[in-house]
Symmetry: C3
Subunit: 346 residues, 3 copies
Amino acid sequence: MPEYTLEDLAAKLSLTLKGGNAKVSGLNTLEAAGPDEVSFLANPKYAPFLEHTRACAVIVDEAHADKVERALISKTPYLDFGRALALFTRKEGSFVGVSDQAYIDPQAELGEGCVVYPFAYIGARARVGKTCVIFSGAYIGEDAIIGDNCRLYPNAVVLSRVELGEGCELHPGAVVGSDGFGFTRPSPGSDAIQRIPQAGFVRLGKEVSVGSNAAIDRGALGPTTIGDETKIDNLVQIGHNVTVGKAGLVISQVGVAGSCRIGDRVTLAGQAGIAGHLKIGNDAVIGPQAGVAKDVPDGFQGGGSPLVDGQTFLRTLSLMPKLPDLFKRISKLEKELAELRGETDK
Amino acid sequence: MPEYTLEDLAAKLSLTLKGGNAKVSGLNTLEAAGPDEVSFLANPKYAPFLEHTRACAVIVDEAHADKVERALISKTPYLDFGRALALFTRKEGSFVGVSDQAYIDPQAELGEGCVVYPFAYIGARARVGKTCVIFSGAYIGEDAIIGDNCRLYPNAVVLSRVELGEGCELHPGAVVGSDGFGFTRPSPGSDAIQRIPQAGFVRLGKEVSVGSNAAIDRGALGPTTIGDETKIDNLVQIGHNVTVGKAGLVISQVGVAGSCRIGDRVTLAGQAGIAGHLKIGNDAVIGPQAGVAKDVPDGFQGGGSPLVDGQTFLRTLSLMPKLPDLFKRISKLEKELAELRGETDK
Amino acid sequence: MPEYTLEDLAAKLSLTLKGGNAKVSGLNTLEAAGPDEVSFLANPKYAPFLEHTRACAVIVDEAHADKVERALISKTPYLDFGRALALFTRKEGSFVGVSDQAYIDPQAELGEGCVVYPFAYIGARARVGKTCVIFSGAYIGEDAIIGDNCRLYPNAVVLSRVELGEGCELHPGAVVGSDGFGFTRPSPGSDAIQRIPQAGFVRLGKEVSVGSNAAIDRGALGPTTIGDETKIDNLVQIGHNVTVGKAGLVISQVGVAGSCRIGDRVTLAGQAGIAGHLKIGNDAVIGPQAGVAKDVPDGFQGGGSPLVDGQTFLRTLSLMPKLPDLFKRISKLEKELAELRGETDK
């Protein structure tokens, strides 16, 4: 693990150091930090912890800098905490070179500086860029193209003809390029199921992250596409011929059905489901467990099933538990009104 | 890749060719097809694209045949598109033979013409049929029985004593035969959890497909059963002792709890959940994200949580966002009625 | 498979045998049991099957003992059925020793009596306890600590620095210690996504079970923690820095977002989702598909999205399908009231 001082951190992160220098062994929360660790304040509600933290310094904004003995003053404390943490974070695995217990097809191409763990499989005509790391149990199919600096963690699977841009990472068990669910019942009541072959592929842009045990299906025709910088969490399902734009955040267990077009900078929160062939506009934010059954305009923010805007969603949520009471109120109204009509009819 | 002409396709698929012959390199959508590709019209809403497509021919029904220069006339254009596409679709992987980097137990039996990739594991007394393809990282447990023509994609796992019929495919990371969730708390408040051993197995019929990273648990006693032709999508969970009939379609991220009996030709849409010990009738169609908590009769079509018939579901969906307004209307009614009663009491 | 008699079972399980001795080949349901199998009655609704069962004996409570010829009398028939079944259940795999087709880093430590299958990977400085079983395709990262008697089923992944207590089992494809979803958009509309490194680890207590293709992320700082005896089902997602207490049951496809603190003896039913940073009290039971968006007190039982107590949930569920009718009733009330006001105004 590297060693830094507070002055090193201030210089590397372009922050202002208030207070004397000290050695730093790592980062930690305000509560858990020891005297050789740096902490941070990102959320003002944790400001009371500043008083008692044992951290040798805290990454804070200007407004809180005088609450601590030593401060690394930042306009964006959370982001600078992330940048500082990167200096102290070890990457998975230190295996070097290309294992002779791996299988690399004679027709495959491997760029300079790649690491290939034992039991990795690289198929015919696959082209792997420079300084990639292919962990044990990972599979790269025939004619696949892997950009420079990609990391395929243990048991990640890239099927034939899939393309990964530079700097992609596939977490353990992620599957990219399996067949879309191309099955159709020829007629109602038929016991036969016909397969529509899945002849397309998948193209990931640059710096795409795919979570553990997530699945991205190949297109039936042409590609399923994930844009640059888009980050996909664990156990997400992306159907065939879906397009996800750039810089998206697709949180755990989301399902996106076939042929959806998801815009740029979209956030899909955990367990949300998007029905097939829909268009989700740029910058949309879809809440957790939402069920999306129609197109969503640019900038939309909402949740629920059916999907409604955020304000309606919150009001509906708060009213749902009052439904039993509502039914009672209506029965009472009906009864009273009937009485009243009886009276006025007299 | 094979080469075909339009006349070849017409002959192979028993379609009528309208217009002259031409070479065909593949299939594509109406919008994306080039002059050596065949396209198709399955959904009438795309008919306007017929005018501008560059496809050399289009698979269409009789009614649209005169809209294009060359047509392959079909009564079922989508199905015939699928059949045509199959002629041009390459299967995953061209490895041949049995790798000496695989592990095959001396007591395992391997049928004629099997392909076994490096790093596949085949356990003692497993019996693998003819012309199966076992990809790298796949695991076949002891005493498992794999029918002819099965394909176990990379890292697919078949645990001991599981049985697969002919022509099954397990997509990457699919797990068949892991332990059911046989855990029970002996008494409320107890910190101990007792395990009920999972002593059964799984039996898949013929031509069953299991999606990437899906999980099918073995029975506690006896089998978990999936019927012939049933297709299971990615990330689906099938609990212990479930029975799924034939020709079912179980879409991505569905969860079926233990001991359910699902009929024949059932469709379970994405992210639906079925509680334990329920019976779902033949030909039922359950909508996406549905929560099924009681038995469902034959032919039922519906959705929602709780599950209701399709018509009620759609009406309820449209009314949900009007709930806040409804509460206001009722408060107004109550107030007006109170006023009125005040008046009439006078 | 071992052989037992009814007297053996009675002695081993401390049950009272009513009726003569007999050989026992295994256990089965009342309906399916043959004359050399033992069955059980756990749910009184199956009592009518006692009359016709072919089982040589039935594990029953005192009250039902005279309904069968031979009984193993138990105060907790289901639990004793589980204990009996354990005697007849074969564990997955009988490979012995350490395969020379596995990769074991020279700096790794392996306890006595471990079984390591071909194609398992054990990284530098990993410490594996005694009598562990590491199946093919399993990965143990650098500096990981695996307690005694752990089982890592095929393709299970334990990333670097993760700690497993004694007796843990990871089912096929389970991933423990992958990066948390530490991604943040620096500002709205930004195309850049910043990574917050995930520098922590995961600590599983004793006897923890993790289901097939489940994913447990490492902490951003410090551990994600799963308590002793907690059992996690297939396809579950546990986010970074989550704490789950002891003896929890987390059912299939549940998602727990980052930094949640789940108490002891909590049950989370299938497909439920817990938003980030929430506290779920001890002994809480959360229903299937529930959406939890605020803290939950000790002992709470409920369901729905939003989460409500069990009674409100059931009533709301039953009222939902009546919403269309409710809207009609209100329109009628409004009309009648308007008429009445018209009359009384006259």
